[in-house]
Amino acid sequence: MAVPKRKMSRSNTRSRRANWKATVVATTTCPQCKAPMQPHIACPSCGTYKGRHYGVAERTEHQG
């Protein structure tokens, strides 16, 4: 099995990890409750999508 020959330096490790970036999630405003929501996904605060209501879409406390 191939194994590393040398210890990886702190600098190399950190410069690799420096490129792990989170991206901003695009959001729009819910036309029903004006809360921010992701486009093409039912609103997590009021559960509506295109005028229809989906109870399961509403976020509860446990779901964070």
């Binding site: 992701q38 093409h40 996904i41 039912a42 997590p44 999508y49 989906y54 399961v56 879409a57 779901q63």
Partner: protein, 236 residues
Amino acid sequence: MPTPTKGPRLGGGPAHERLILANLATSLFEHDRITTTEAKAKRLRPLAERLVTFAKRGDLSARRRVMTVIRDKGVVHRLFVEIGPDMAERPGGYTRITKIGPRKGDNAPMAVIELVREPVAKKATVKEAEGATKRAAKDDAAQREAAQAEAQLAETETAATESTELPAGAVAATEDGSAPEGYTVKGNADSGKYHVEGSQWYDQTVAEFWFKDAQAAEAAGFEPAGGAAKQVEDEA
């Protein structure tokens, strides 16, 4: 090679996948609306719509084919008696997938797949479609007019160039290749030769110009094809 299935494979094997999809379809027809992962919803949709099509047909053979997928007789009864008649007016698109947020635990994107049971909203869509076709027709007409204007411009240009090339005493060929009235001698612009009626190559020649007689053609600088002896007009 058969076309591979669209979308992700589910479960641990083909049989497992069939079972998953059959169970999902059974639940969908039992409850009208189920929550599942987006991948499963997308795989379920074509299967469910096919089963609804069988339900719309409603005969015994269709029922037996549905029974091969959905093993629950009660659910099949509901599909054929309640859901099928509801979909009678609907030309496909029997299910609707709505995405909801990701699931806690594995962050899998979830979706609600439901049967579209409400009556077909004909008025709005028809109006919309009519408006769209009207707009399209208008755009089309505008485009066609523009194209025509361009074509006319091009035509006038070409006509202008052609008229300068047209030799004296000649008439340009008509579009269908028939002789203009009174003009019987064919003039070939490529070879610069003329053919009188009834001569050897007359029938196969494509005339660019038409002359009244051999003298007119000669005056315009055209030569007799195959020598003057062959292009003597029959006076009788």
